[in-house]
Amino acid sequence: MASSSTTPSTQPVTEGHPTSRVSSGFASFWRQLGKFLLSGWALIFFVFLYLPIVTLIVFSFNESRFATEWSGFTLQWYGELFQNRLLGLALRNSLIVAFSTTLISTAIGTMVAVALERFDFKGKLPIDALLFLPIIIPDIAMGIMLLSFFALLNQSLGFVTIIIAHTAFNISFVAVIVRARMADIDPTLEEAANDLGANEWQAFWRVGFPLLLPGILAGALTAFTLSLDDYVVTFFVSGPGSTTLPVRVYGMIRRGVTPEINALSSLLLVASMILVVLSLALQRRSSRLNV
C-alpha cells in the first residue's frame, strides 16, 4: 500500500486514503454509539417490564410484613401459603375449571379449525369473523353478558357456569391457533394417504392429526393458562364454593397486600411462564417440522 505513493499516477489514491480512513472512523464511531444507545434502550425496556416482577419475587422472601423495608430472608410466607386452607381450596377449584375448560375447548376448537380450513360451506365467512369476537371483546362485557344469560336461564352460579364461560372464550383461541398450524399443512398429504389406501378417518388419524398435534397442544396450553389466570369473567359467573384462585387472591388484596400474596403471585408467575414457554416451544417445533 505505502509503496504505491512513489508514482504520480497513484497519488490521488494515497491522498484519498487518509480522508477515507477518517470518514470510516467517524462512521464506525456513530455505529458504535448507535449500538450502545440501542442496547441501552433495550435494557431500560426490560428493566421497566421486569423490575416490578423482580421486586415482587424478592419481597416474597422478606421477613418483614411490610413491603417498604427489607429485614431478612425467610421462607415463612411460602409455608403459610401452603397452610392456608381457603387458598388451597381456591387452587383446587381453579385446576378443576382449567382442566375441564381445556379439554372441552380444545376438542371443540380443533373441530372448528378443521371445519373452517378443510371444508367449504354456506355461512363460512360470518362464522370465520365471529370466531374472533370472543378474543377482542372486553372481558367485562363478556362477564356481564354471560351473567345475564345464566340469570335468564335460571342457572345457579358455580363450576358449571365458570366452565361454560371459560370454554366460550377459549374455543376461539384454540381454533385460531390450530388453524394457523393447519394452514401450514399441505392438503395433498391427506390425499396421498387416501391414494395409498387410507380412508378419510385413517388419513386424518395417521397423517392429519399427528401433523396438527403440536398446534392442538399449543392451543390447549394457551386455554389452560387463560383459564387459570382469568379474573374478570370468572368474578361475574362464580358462585359460593366455586371461587377460583384469582378471585380469592383479589378478595385477599382488598385487605392489604401481604407477603403471602407476594409468594403466591411468584408461584403463579413461574407456573404461567413455564406454560407459555412450553406452548411457544411446541409452536416453533411444529413449524420446523414442516420444512
Binding site: 399441505d186 395433498t188 398429504l189 390425499e191 396421498a192 394417504a193 387416501n194 391414494d195 395409498l196 420444512v291
Partner: protein, 356 residues
C-alpha cells in the same frame, strides 16, 4: 386380459360453470407409458385426478382393467399417484412412508419389511430408510415418492408432473430412470407433463390436450410428423404455419397458394377442393436452403446456436419461415448472411396440409 389398463368414456368434469375436461375418450393399454401433454390449464391434471378418484366426473365413467370406477373413492382404486410436490409424510421416516400403503392393506410385518427394502433398492435409495423426508434432496424425495407408490404394485401408476421441481440436469437423469423403472416393473404409467420434449422422450403414446379436450392421440413420431391440428403442430416442437388456399390436388399431394402468390407443395390426408382455405405445417429442420429450392426468400436473421444455425427467411410480406440447418463439417457450412436472397425448398412429403 384384453381390457385396456385405463379407459375413459365421454368423461366431462365441470367446476361450477367452467368445463375443466369436456367429453374425453381415452384408451390406455396395458404396460404403456402414456403421457397427457398440454399447456397449463388444459385439463390434464384434472384428468389424472379423475382417474385417481380425487375428482368424480360430472359425466362419463372411468374403467380400470374393465371395471367401472363410478363413485369409487381413491383408497379403493388399484392405482397410485406420484404427486407433483411428492407429498411425503414429514412426520414419518422414509421406511414408514414407503410402508404406509402396505400397512393400510394389512400386509404382514415381515413381508412389508421385505417389500419396502426392495422398493428402496429399486429406486437406488438403500440405507436411507431411517431418515426423514426433509433430510433428503429433491431428487431423492422424488425417488421415495416413486417407491411409496410402486411398492403397492398398482395396476396403473399416475404421475403428476413429477419432475417439475427438479433442475434440468437432474430432470434428464430422472427421465431415463423413470423409463428404466417402467420397463422393469411393467406397470402402466400415466404421465402428466407440459414439457413436450419430456413427453416425446419417454412416452409410448401421447395425448395432446388443450382447453379440456383431447386433440390428438398417437406415438411421439405420429404426433411430431403428422400433427392433425395447428395447435398440436405448434405445441410439439417448432413449426412453420403457412396459410393459403388450395390450388391443385393430385392424389395425396396438394399445391397450396400461400398469400395468393407462393405455390407450396405438401402432403394431404384430406379431400380438398379448389379454393378451399388450408394451412401447411413444415418443421424448421425439414427445410433446405440453396440447392435450387422452388421458393425464393430473403434472409432476415441468422442465429448461430451451436449444433444448428437458425435462419429467419421472409417469403412474402406476411410470411416468414424459421429454418434450422445443422452445422456439420465446418468446411461444408455455408452461412447465409442477413439480406441475402436464397432459394428455399422441402420435400412435399415433409409438409402437411391442415384444414380447420
Amino acid at each position: 386380459m384384453g381390457n385396456p389398463a385405463v379407459q375413459l368414456t365421454q368423461v366431462t368434469k365441470a367446476f361450477g360453470e367452467v368445463l375443466a375436461v369436456s367429453d374425453i375418450d381415452l384408451r390406455i393399454e396395458d404396460g404403456e407409458f402414456f403421457s397427457l401433454l398440454g399447456p397449463s390449464g388444459c385439463g390434464k391434471t384434472t384428468t389424472l385426478r379423475i382417474i385417481a378418484g380425487f375428482e368424480m366426473p360430472t359425466q362419463g365413467d372411468v374403467l380400470i382393467r374393465g371395471r367401472s370406477m363410478g363413485q369409487t373413492p381413491p383408497f379403493k382404486r388399484p392405482v397410485n399417484t406420484v404427486f407433483q410436490n411428492y407429498a411425503l409424510f414429514p412426520h414419518m421416516t422414509i421406511e414408514q412412508n414407503v410402508a404406509f400403503g402396505l400397512e393400510m392393506k394389512k400386509v404382514d410385518k415381515a413381508e412389508t419389511q421385505r417389500r419396502v427394502g426392495e422398493a428402496l433398492e429399486m429406486v437406488r435409495l438403500p440405507n436411507m430408510g431411517k431418515r426423514r423426508p426433509h433430510q433428503l434432496s429433491g431428487g431423492q424425495q422424488q425417488r421415495v415418492a416413486l417407491a411409496r407408490a410402486l411398492v403397492n404394485e398398482p395396476e396403473v401408476l399416475l404421475l403428476d408432473e413429477p419432475l417439475g421441481a427438479l433442475d434440468l440436469k437432474l430432470r434428464k437423469a430422472m427421465q431415463l430412470e423413470l423409463k428404466r423403472l417402467q420397463s422393469q416393473v411393467g406397470i402402466t404409467f400415466v404421465y402428466v407433463t407440459h414439457d413436450q420434449e419430456e413427453a416425446l422422450t419417454m412416452s409410448d403414446r401421447i395425448a395432446v390436450m388443450n382447453d379440456g379436450e383431447v386433440l390428438q392421440v398417437g406415438s411421439p413420431v405420429e404426433i411430431y410428423e403428422h400433427p392433425t391440428s395447428g395447435f398440436v403442430a405448434d405445441f410439439i416442437g417448432e413449426s412453420n404455419m403457412l396459410y393459403g388456399t388450395v390450388y391443385a390436388v393430385e392424389g395425396t399431394e396438394a399445391v397450396i397458394l400461400v398469400d395468393g402468390t407462393v405455390p407450396v407443395r405438401a402432403h394431404t390426408d384430406y379431400d380438398l377442393s379448389h379454393g378451399q382455405r388450408a394451412g401447411v405445417v413444415v418443421r424448421p429442420e425439414k427445410i433446405t436452403l440453396g440447392n435450387g429450392g422452388a421458393l425464393l426468400g430473403r434472409v432476415e436473421e441468422v442465429v448461430y446456436i451451436g449444433t444448428d444455425t437458425r435462419y429467419s427467411i421472409r417469403l412474402t410480406d406476411s410470411t416468414t419461415l424459421i429454418v434450422r440447418e445443422q452445422n456439420g463439417n465446418s468446411d461444408q457450412v455455408r452461412l447465409y448472411e442477413a439480406g441475402e436472397e436464397v432459394s428455399v425448398g422441402w420435400s412435399p412429403a415433409q409438409a402437411i396440409v391442415l384444414v380447420d
